[in-house]
Assembly symmetry: C2
Homo-oligomer: 644 residues x 2
């Protein structure tokens, strides 16, 4: 009811907004096709997960994931989905299950690192999933530091084979997705030894379980690493080798190989760029991946905030106030809504940059990857941390019910959580960003960062304008990075670079990256809105932009005053934002429903499209909760009363 | 090894520090007694939970909790623990299980609300736990707004009984701890109806399950509300009544009753203060409760950061660097360590205030509860949100392994998580705080907040000093609250109070509470350190104070510059903090191990006292993980390969 009314009263042009959104989410796929794929998926029972999965035990969860994965692969093959369509089909999968990991991570890694002969042999097996793979890099003792890996692949020229061995407990591969139960092959990164010399980490495709029986081979110790805060449906696994032999052909030889005389040979010294690019691509995926869980959390929280009423509304006696009508609730939700659009709008520019460079690399050129790498790290860091915070804000905005798995938000949170850690720990990536930015003071800056090393910015113009506000972010970024550079130059006369970046400038350096991120994302926000025709859609997004700015700028007020901005400016920006909240309010539901997320993808009772929250909550708990199968919990009376 | 060396090299006076800490954690209990209770608990197998509990299914988890609770109650009765000792014994319980909830929440609520005759009848049953109770206030439709509760208790004078009824789905009691399986009685808050008139929410003790068989009575629909992000071992439950009759004696009649002629009667109009005080007490408990999970998370993260090495240390060739030696890791952990001490030090002053007022109330006086209520709300809000953030920071500081339940940190997080919501949603409490603070402009401020309505503060003195820094927090608090007051006075001429606090000033008002919190907690920090004799302990804590200030002050730099502080001041404070990190580093382990948390209370492999992290992780997963019981997950091969 409440939802139906709100839908009617929106002033947005919904279809136009949806088109606009999806032009940014999936730039190659028309909206009709996106809708078609989602419809199809919603009709396949194994793919339409319901909230009932939240009752699963770990083992049930693993099984459900396999069933899901199986149906998923069947669908994408049957429908012959292309790369981007695959991403659409991946949206409403719940976690990175074995099949998905195989197709989206393992196979691309293999394609990248294997040579053509190897691919000719293995790709058909990957296609049928007779070969199920996983990417095994991290060990119990080393994650961030890949050079520190301990697992050994020792070449034996006599038998033309490698002996794989895990010399210590810390050498145990750990955390490897899909390894615990599902994979029968692992792309193992191991230290290559030839004649007693170590050549550093290299990739091997290692058969670990029998393709037919799935039994682990002798010399292979493999299993699941146990309970986690999320990712219950993924069998993150461990792997140890005890002098386990594999034929020479299993070394992945696109970049380097062992030649017929048994010597190490680098095939293409420039090819390292390709490897590097694949890392960049994995991180780009986190950005690509961010809008979906955040739009899910917001769909749930905004819908529920319209349905939920709390406290008598003395302005309309006899009624209760919808919680979305409280200013603080609006502030929480609309700040996060503005973040959602910000992260969405940045995708096209970054993707374009990536594809341009990828094209150059694959056509044999050798462009600089630095700026791309820097931006992608920046977005990996802030997309992961800021989206997490946003999901949690949505969860809290649902009050007590947000703590129930049935709300759908906790699992969005725990699934997204490891992104701050994997594909490059956020601290380590931030450090790479600031090191790069500091290096710009000694070479020509790319246009994206020219302002950092350029003339001092003193924000001018109308304080209400996006241009003034953009100058503010840039001024802060400039100030902070310049200060880091100044300190770096001072310290360099006395300390090694290593000492400086490990022990003296890490805190200041990492802190300087956040305004750089804001300056970039806010510019994309401006540019994207600019392209819209005038109208209510544009107005609504401009309101969100103002809300975004207000939520991120005040913490920099000191620096900005140092750059000549008056304190009252922040009060003005704050007032603009508060005013914008009331303008966004009537269109809040429209702004999030323009994403058209389906119930089948939300797995949430609070976020149901029909708004039937309370009935369904009660019915679900009555009929699905295994704890309620018996009237008295078996054994309970034996433990309830202390025997004293 | 690494831990042993660090322990040897600390410059702290450990025993003295421990005494100092526990004088703040448990002001009435000598350290020897605390150690004794912990020792005793560690020896009782059911109470010494191990990490193996993280493998439990929901049902196993409920059973383990009952076993735990049973042993716990047996112990506290056998040892005749007093009130504070009970809190010590409650530390290393994992969640608020049924037995603990019965003793720490239900029984005190009953004592508060029942009259003496009622208590004479029921207390013996509570003691033996023949009566197991829960506190049932929240409904599916109403939590924050207690007046909006729907469940009805209609008095029938003829039969001298109440008819309990849940007229709608939203009237279903929901979220009630220990109700789902364990409780046989519920302290139900229901709307009292007499002769068609509603008298508002009143408390009833309702028998819901048979004491002997534990079967729910006819007319009672009760069960568990299903999966949650944490609290797996608690049977949060739902409850509905279908015209269920209970005798009149079950209305709790300390504050009001129905007299012999069937009329409503208030017993003691002043007694509402007692009820109010009980709310305050529950919130105080969240503060009391905060240091333990945070010290647990920090024990785990600091120990692990000393054991964990990552990246070659080129300054000492052939070795790897301990992650605790990276500046950013220090910043993360030591900021949170400073927070831990801050929250610890504030307990004595707040407790003293509480006990003084409690004494006055129970001795018949009628002191003002306002200032206590305000401070307790403030601390409830910030103890819950800031400690949560701190626990999560510790988790991320452990890299990938922090995502494993076996690290012990995820369950600390999810158990603490609902505290932002229950015992008063944080937003609503913040609103009460700011309303109270604004009211001070029209009456005499209590000494704690006199500065807010007093003369304008312009921080002066040595910027390195605690006194200057305290003036800064006070200046910000003063500025922000005054601004809210100014806006409030302006708006009051045009709008109703309700409109102002719901729709116009909520955001600004709630934001103004944080600096008030900092000003108060930082003053306690200063006062507490002052009492220490000069020496390394005092020096270390003074370093932590500096780190605390730096971590919280920069966001206010704009306001402070507006109050006359120079921008360079913040750079100085930042530099002091960075310097303090390096001074704290050698004593980091000592500072947290002075809390003397036992392995039996940590439930963590990363945080083991013996530092045997990697072996134990591997062994545990090999031997305890049920998924590894079979070499091939049953049914796996049926689902692995898509059939196309
Ligand atoms: C759910 C999940 C799935 C995963 N899936 C896979 C997979 O499929 N395949 C795979 O190979 N791996 C996988 N991983 C592992 C993941 O890639 C690593 O956890 C990640 O690389 C971080 O490494 P680490 O855990 O060793 O952290 P560490 O490097 O040990 O970091 C611990 C702490 O030290 C800090 N630190 C470390 N070095 C520095 C430095 N130089 N300066 C400052 N601070 C520093 C970090 O910031 C962090 O706070 C997965 C992990 C998770 C949680
Ligand atoms: C783990 C857990 C255990 C619990 N145990 C118990 C128990 O044993 N017994 C019991 O009785 N209850 C229990 N509860 C319920 C708990 O007390 C309520 O969840 C809590 O009071 C919040 O109420 P709500 O859920 O109705 O949130 P709501 O009041 O619906 O809040 C939802 C959102 O609306 C916002 N909002 C509401 N009103 C306003 C306003 N006036 N101004 C601005 N914003 C507003 C809130 O800030 C929040 O963001 C438990 C809850 C949990 C999660």
């Amino acid at each position: 009811m409440a939802l139906v009314e709100e839908r009617k009263s929106t002033t947005l042009s919904m279809e136009e907004l949806t088109r606009f959104i999806y032009a940014h989410a999936y730039s190659e796929t028309p909206l009709e096709r996106i809708r078609e794929i989602r419809e199809k998926m919603a009709k396949i029972p194994e793919l339409s997960l319901t909230v009932n999965r939240y009752y699963d035990t770990r083992e049930q969860s693993l099984k459900r994931a396999l069933l899901f994965g199986n149906a998923w692969v069947t669908m994408i093959k049957k429908e012959k989905l292309n790369h981007e369509e695959l991403q659409i089909a991946y949206e409403n999968s719940f976690e990175l299950t074995a099949h998905i990991a195989h197709i989206t991570f393992f196979v691309p890694s293999l394609i990248l690192q294997a040579d053509n002969d190897q691919l000719r042999e293995w790709m058909p097996l990957c296609e049928t999933m007779e070969m199920v793979g996983c990417y095994a890099q991290t060990e119990l003792g080393h994650g961030s530091d890949v050079r520190g890996l301990e697992i050994q692949a020792t070449y034996d020229h006599l038998s033309k084979s490698f002996i794989l061995h895990s010399p210590t407990i810390t050498a145990t591969k750990w955390w490897i997705g899909a390894l615990g139960c599902a994979a029968n092959h692992a792309l193992v990164i191991a230290q290559l030894y030839i004649n007693g010399t170590c050549y550093g980490p290299h990739p091997f495709l290692v058969p670990i379980r029998d393709i037919k029986t799935h039994m682990p081979y002798d010399g292979v110790d493999v299993g699941d690493i146990g309970p986690k805060i999320g990712f219950h449906s993924n069998d993150n696994g461990f792997l140890r080798f005890n002098n386990y032999r594999i034929p020479k052909k299993y070394m992945l030889t696109r970049f380097s190989k062992i030649n017929d005389t048994g010597d190490y040979e680098i095939i293409d010294p420039n090819s390292i760029k390709i490897l590097y690019l694949s890392l960049v691509r994995a991180r780009l995926f986190i950005l690509a991946d961010a809008w979906f869980p955040l739009s899910s959390a917001l769909t749930i929280a905004i819908r529920y905030s319209i349905i939920r009423k709390q406290f008598a509304d003395n302005e309309k006696p006899g009624t209760e106030k919808k919680i979305i009508d409280y200013q603080i609730q609006q502030n929480k939700l609309f700040v996060m809504l503005s973040r959602l659009f910000a992260f969405l709008f940045v995708r096209v520019p970054i993707n374009n940059m990536y594809f341009k460079i990828e094209k150059e690399v694959t056509s044999g050129k050798s462009p600089s990857l630095d700026i791309l790498h820097c931006l992608v790290c920046l977005y990996k860091v802030y997309a992961s941390s800021k989206v997490l915070e946003a999901i949690e804000t949505c969860r809290r905005a649902c009050g007590g019910h947000g703590y129930s798995m049935l709300s759908g938000i906790p699992s969005l949170y725990t699934t997204f959580l490891p992104k701050v850690t994997y594909d490059g720990d956020n601290n380590i990536l931030s450090l790479q960003v600031i090191k790069y930015l500091v290096s710009l003071f000694h070479k020509k800056s790319p246009k994206e960062f020219a302002y950092i090393t350029g003339a001092k910015i003193t924000p001018t113009g109308d304080v209400h304008s996006s241009s003034f506000q953009q100058q503010c972010f840039m001024a802060v970024a400039q100030y902070k990075v310049n200060r880091v550079n100044k300190h770096f130059q001072e310290l360099k006369t006395r300390f090694t670079k290593e000492k400086i970046w490990n022990s003296l400038l890490q805190v200041e350096g990492i802190e300087a990256t956040e305004p750089v991120f804001h300056a970039h994302i806010h510019q994309c926000f401006i540019d994207t809105i600019d392209k819209l025709p005038n109208g209510t859609n544009k107005d609504a997004l401009e309101c969100l932009r103002k809300i975004y700015v207000a939520s991120e700028i005040e913490k920099y007020s000191g620096i900005l005053m140092n750059c000549g901005v008056k304190y009252e400016t922040f009060e003005t920006i704050q007032q603009d934002s508060v005013h914008a909240l009331s303008l966004v309010r009537p269109n809040a539901l429209g702004l999030i429903e323009a994403f058209e997320l389906k119930d089948e993808a939300l797995h949430s009772i609070l976020g149901r499209k029909d708004g039937d929250v309370y009935n369904q909550m009660f019915q679900n708990v009555k009929t699905q909760n295994p704890i309620n199968k018996t009237k008295v919990l078996p054994g309970l009376l034996d433990y309830l009363r202390p025997k004293i």
